[in-house]
Amino acid sequence: MEELDRLGWAAGLAFVAHGVRVGIRANRAEVLDGLEKRLPLGWRPCAHQRVRHLYSLVAAGEDRANVRHFHVLYADAVRVLRTRDLQSVFSFLEYDLEVYVAEQARRRVFLHAGAVGWNGRAVILPGRTRSGKTTLVAALVRAGATYYSDEYAVIDDKGRVHPYPTPLAVRTGTGDVEKVPVEALGGRAGREPLPVGAVVMTRYQPGSVWRPRGLSSGRAVLQMLDHAYAARYAPERTLAALLQVAARAQMLTGVRGDAAEVARSLLDRVGRTP
């Protein structure tokens, strides 16, 4: 790290997101322009000189005859990326920052899950990538639910879900990801934390009929833990938050077919719960 510190750093920024202080520095000031819109949601600048995690970007100069230069990114003292494409560095940085903050967040537990609000309660949909979370979240929003997130259910120590309303990552027919603001679906994003009314473990299976069955609290917590970013880093705090959720929410599991049909059924079920 000392060797890195000795390099000439032209610019840097420090920010805090969910209680985690992170710094980014670069050897050329202009490469940090526009980086702010790639920082994790809820970030704010931080005046502290000391950060918990520091990225160092050594941006390449102009190529010369027979000499190709690479951009190199370090996370603390570890070289994590070497590429000729600066956009790849930013994409990696955006991804890595989100994962780092999700894992290290001090007072929140991040689940890999979609989340919506309905009648003062949240419905969360933990699931792996390509399990159909975003499709179901979009269907719930079209059915009238408030958008909380299609990627993270951010849970506090009381078991409430906080909004993390990034644009929905909708996959197109070709498999590409298109970022769609919730307003484009005719919906709106939630602002207040909500207690969880239902946790739904489901994945899309073509031709399936939605026949959910209940899950015991213990099994539901185990399955939620399987989608928790801090499961290993802070298991005690993660378990405590998930137990709060399990104490109050309905736990449902089952494969699903058409998202619109499931959305109506889920909202009806959550709306009926006293």
Partner: protein, 170 residues
Amino acid sequence: MKTEPPALPLRRETDLIVRPLSDETLVYDLARDTAHCLNATAAAVWCRCDGRTGVSELAAALRLECRITADEDVVWLALRQLQKARLLQARVPHPAVAHRSSRRDLIRKLGTAAALPIVMTILAPTARAQASDQCTGMDGVQRPCSENPCPAGFMCMQVGPDMACGCVAN
């Protein structure tokens, strides 16, 4: 010459986070990063594994506490699962002469499958394991990152707008 008496089951107590629920018990193993959900029967056996209580006494305790017609076979099934989950301090050898009942036999004896001891286990995921795993290999084909080989100490992830497979330090 005397043979050593068989070891009595003794539960692990260190490096565990234990959270009892109304009819289940959650256990997180800090040493192995595994999480377990013990149903009522498995939990009742596990908390009585104090190194002084034998299998027949455990069966009697199950009959009393869980109100099920448990015999030693049910306890042995619980112990096998607890051992597999590494929640016991040492392996408890099953007596060679004893008959090992099948699950079907045990369900018949107990009258319900719900009374069978069950230990569900997951390996706690790393933060990066949650993230999107599809990337485009050198051949231009999209595949899960797990199928993209990376050297030791590195893991695969998507890099760049074209979601190319890249190896990053673990």
